[in-house]
Symmetry: C5
C-alpha cells in the first residue's frame, strides 16, 4: 500500500456498469514531509474519504478485497483507510 | 486506475484468438494540466471510447472484470470510463 | 499491454519444467517513433513472432490467458499479437 | 520481494474492517550499502518486525499468502521475514 | 520476465513459516551488455541457481506457478531458468 492525499474527483457517466455507485477519487502519493509526489491515481473510496484527506491506498487485486460486493469490479486501486497519524522512527 | 487520453489504435491480424473482436486503443497518461506524460499503453476499449477521449484505464487482473466475456482473455489494461469532468480540490 | 519489438532470444536448458516447449523472446518497448526504450523483457511467444517484429505484449496474470495450456505456467509476459499497423490520432 | 527497513507506523481508525488488528508499518527499500532509497510503502507485519528492522517485503497477491486469515484482506504488501544477514557474492 | 544476475543471498530465521526451505537469492537486472542495472530483488530459487548465474526471473502471481507446493506461499518473484545463451537480433 502507499500513503497519499485526496486531490480531486472524477465524474464519468459513460462507464462500466460495475463502477456505478462507486466514488472515484484522485490521489497523489506523499513523501515523509507530506509533499505530493509522482503521478496521480484514481482510486475507489471505501471508507468515506474526502478532499485533502491523507489516506492508505491498496493497489492490484487486493483493491477488490474491501467488501464482497467489490470482488469482481474493474478496479485496481482503492482507499482502505483514512490516516489519523504517521509515526516516523528515529534512525 | 489512471487518467489518460486515447492517442491511437493498433491493427493486428496475427493475434491471440481470444483478442478477436476487441478494439485495441493506444492511451497515454495525462497530468493535472492534461498534458500527455510517460509511456503509452495498449488498452481494450469497453465503453465506446475514441480518438482524443479522456478516459479511465484499469490495469492488471481488474482489467478483465468489465464483463464476464472478458474474464479469461489475455489483457492487462482496459478503458472502463469516459471522463465527463475532473474536479481538483483546493489545497 | 504495451507495444514492443523483438530484439533477441533466450536459450535455457536448466529451467522450470513447465517452461519446456515455450519460445522465450526478448522484447523492448517502443515509443511513437518506434525507437527502442526502457529495459528489455522476456516474453513467451504465442503467435509465431520473430526477430524485429513489432508486437503486443501482455504482462501479469493476463499473460497466462492465451491458451488453457498456459494457465498455470510460471510466466508474467507473453506476446499476444503481431502489429500490422499503428494509427496515431491527430491532436 | 525486496529488502527494506522499517521507518515508521501508520495509525488509522477509519479503515476497512478487514484491516482491523493488522499492524501497518512504513518501509523503505534499501540498496547494497543499506541506504534508504525510493518511495516508502505501507506493509502489514506478519513476523513481529519493529522500528529499524531490515525486512523482506512481498508485494501483490503474494502478500496475502502468509496465513489463511489474510487471503482476502485488502492489502498489497506484507513483511514476511526479518533479515539476519545479507551475503553479497564476489563479482 | 526479466534477465538478471544472482548477486547475493538473504539469511532470515524469523520469517513466514511458508518460506521455510526456500532459498532466497538476491538478483539484479542486466542490460544488453550484462551490466547490472536498477534495484535488486529477492527471488526464490526453483532451478538450482547460484552466485553470478545469469537467470530468468518471473514476478507477480506467475512466480508461484513453478510447482504445486509453491502455489500459496508468500512470494512475488522466483528464478525459473538459468541462461545458457542470449541471442541478440541484428537491427
Amino acid at each position: 500500500m502507499f500513503l497519499g492525499k485526496v486531490v480531486g474527483k472524477v465524474v464519468s457517466t459513460q462507464k462500466s456498469e460495475k463502477l456505478i455507485g462507486n466514488k472515484l477519487l484522485i490521489v497523489k502519493k506523499i513523501d515523509e514531509k507530506e509533499n505530493l509526489i509522482g503521478d496521480h491515481f484514481v482510486a475507489v473510496d471505501t471508507v468515506g474519504a474526502g478532499a485533502n484527506d491523507t489516506v492508505i491506498v491498496v493497489t492490484g487485486s487486493g483493491s477488490r478485497n474491501s467488501s464482497d460486493s467489490q470482488n469482481d469490479i474493474p478496479i485496481d486501486a482503492s482507499i482502505v483507510g483514512i490516516v489519523d497519524s504517521i509515526e516516523w522512527d528515529e534512525h
